[in-house]
Amino acid sequence: MRLAGAPLLLLAVASLTFLLMRAAPGGPFDREKQIPEQILRELEKKYKLDGPVHEQMGRYLWDVARGDLRLSTQYRNRTVNELIGQTLPVSMALGATAFAIAIVAGSVLGICAAAAHNRPPDYALMVLALVGVSLPSFILGPLLMLVFSFWLGWFPVGGWGELRQLWLPALALSLPYVAYITRLVRVSMLEVLGEDYVRTARAKGVSEARVLFVHAFRNAALPLVSYSGPLAAFILTGSLVVETIFNIPGMGPFFVNSVLNRDVFLTGGVTLVYSALLIAFNLTVDVAYVWLDRRIRLD
């Protein structure tokens, strides 16, 4: 049922973006200098933007359904498919790294904080986490750059292509969520650690590390799984900014430019890809949740 809804939702997203972009006064061919009427009409024809708006939209949705995201109006003669094909892998690499850092570092720190409950390491981690939660990526990004690239010179300033260039942006993107997940995991670990089966495991002589990381964490991870849906959404939008700061050729800068330049099809295409990623991810999370916790059934 949810699976069947996804393509419909995507079509709705496509029509909404298209209508929004076309509803505003002006169009993608507006320039400082007025373009002659004849040329404008030719351009509109080439980019299939002629005729009444509902017909334009109908044809656009048909193209989208067949997987053709059309030509970009700004980057002449390049298709949106091609532009996304080049930029999506970059964004995905950055996003996936940040996601992995957030989940792994957040879980480990959260488990450590719970293990040291009400002792100095716990307090220190909680203070750090509270600071981290309130530092958004667009503050962290430039700050990390200032400290680690300019003052210490450990990492390159920006750009893309080498592994060394991945770390700072991935950190800027993931640190606020590392902080959030640390708090999340700590709370749910504390809850789980009070349960009988943990006491049983300890009584059996299972090592403390194994109790924490295997027995307890397995159940404490459930809130983390349901948070990973929103987390993916935050990382996705966060990457818009981080890519701009670190000059990374991902989808983000293209998207922002396309909105400013009224590049209808590029905006539509990127919005669609973002939505599709998020919807697919949320579906996966739902499935994973059921698989992890047999007490829940999806209807």
Binding site: L9, V13, L16, T17, L20, M21, A23, A24, P25, G26, L130, V131, V133, S134, L135, P136, F138, I139, G141, P142, L143, M145, L146, S149, F150, W151, V157, V187, A233, L236, T237, L240, V241, T244, I245, F255, V256, V259, L260, T267, V270, T271, Y274, S275, L278, I279, N282
Partner: protein, 297 residues
């Protein structure tokens, strides 16, 4: 709000400290630009002066006083945050209350819509919406005979628009509460007395939600501030010569370079913003502990 409640709030260290910081930031934002000897867009002869006795926060590329600009930015960011949170409150509470009170199919349909809206990348749409509506509102303002307001179109949009897309969590929470409250005896009594549905909902049920609504209002303000700054950072929000924290941080980020780091351009607005966000988050957490004992962590 009774006195015992206030005392409990002030006894909570998180709440009192964050309230003090917020009061400090607000007073500085209101009085600061007015007390400052510099104006926020007045050009000065000293370019890139580091923080010192004359300019506490240093100066920028055009010789403008960074601290004055950060305080001016605080005004804008705080106002946008507050108004956005209030708009989200109005929409979220109404939507959630109606959904929960109506129940049945209406409720299912309304909540399904919330689920759908949750699953699309909101900020991406906000970016499209703000830039599209900007042109619309401009045209409308000119059409209404107020062309002098047209440059402020984006400002008006930020004030209303950011809250208008931020109501989903509030709606969910209110709906859940209304769903359980409406089964209680006092609602039955009100209905037996012949009161209308609107009266029951707004006079009898909603006053019970004040606490939880305040908590989520406090937690919505930083989210809206963050989104406004993010848009401004990308150049899609507040336009120069006005500046919010986002614009200032963006300028700071652009001027840092390997040869000479003008760190104060970044650090002054960034720390003002981080401090505010942090105390708002603290305040929300603290209030949640006091008002909603079940959600205690």
């Amino acid at each position: 709000m009774d006195r015992a409640f206030l005392r409990r709030c002030l006894a909570n260290r998180r709440i009192s400290v964050s309230l003090a910081i917020l009061a400090l930031v607000s007073v500085a934002a209101i009085l600061g630009p007015w007390l400052s000897p510099y104006s926020h867009d007045g050009l000065g002869p000293l370019r890139f002066a580091p923080p010192g006795a004359a300019h506490w926060g240093g100066t920028d590329l055009l010789g403008r006083d960074v601290l004055t600009r950060a305080l001016m930015g605080a005004r804008i960011s705080l106002m946008v945050g507050l108004s956005g949170a209030l708009v989200s409150l109005a929409i979220g509470v109404t939507y959630g209350a109606v959904s929960g009170y109506a129940g049945g199919k209406t409720d299912a349909l309304m909540m399904r819509l919330v689920d759908v809206l949750y699953s699309i990348p909101r900020l991406v749409f906000v970016i499209v919406l703000i830039s599209v509506l900007d042109l619309r509102v401009r045209a409308a303002l000119v059409g209404l005979g107020h062309p002098e307001w047209a440059p402020q179109a984006k400002f008006i949009l930020l004030f209303i628009g950011l809250g208008a897309v931020q109501w989903l969590s509030m709606a969910r929470i209110v709906r859940g509460q209304v769903l359980s409250l409406k089964e209680r005896q006092f609602v039955l009594a009100a209905r037996a007395l012949g009161q209308s549905h609107a009266a029951i909902l707004f006079r009898h049920i909603l006053p019970n939600l004040v606490g939880i609504v305040i908590v989520y209002l406090t937690l919505t303000i930083p989210v809206v501030i963050l989104e406004e700054s993010l848009l401004s950072f990308l150049g899609l929000g507040v336009q120069p010569p006005m500046a919010s924290w986002g614009t200032l941080i963006a300028q700071g980020a652009q001027t840092i370079n390997p040869i000479k780091s003008y760190w104060w351009l970044l650090v002054v607005p960034a720390s003002a913003m981080a401090m505010t966000l942090m105390s708002l988050n603290f305040l929300g957490d603290g209030l949640r502990d006091v008002l909603d004992p079940r959600a205690r962590r």
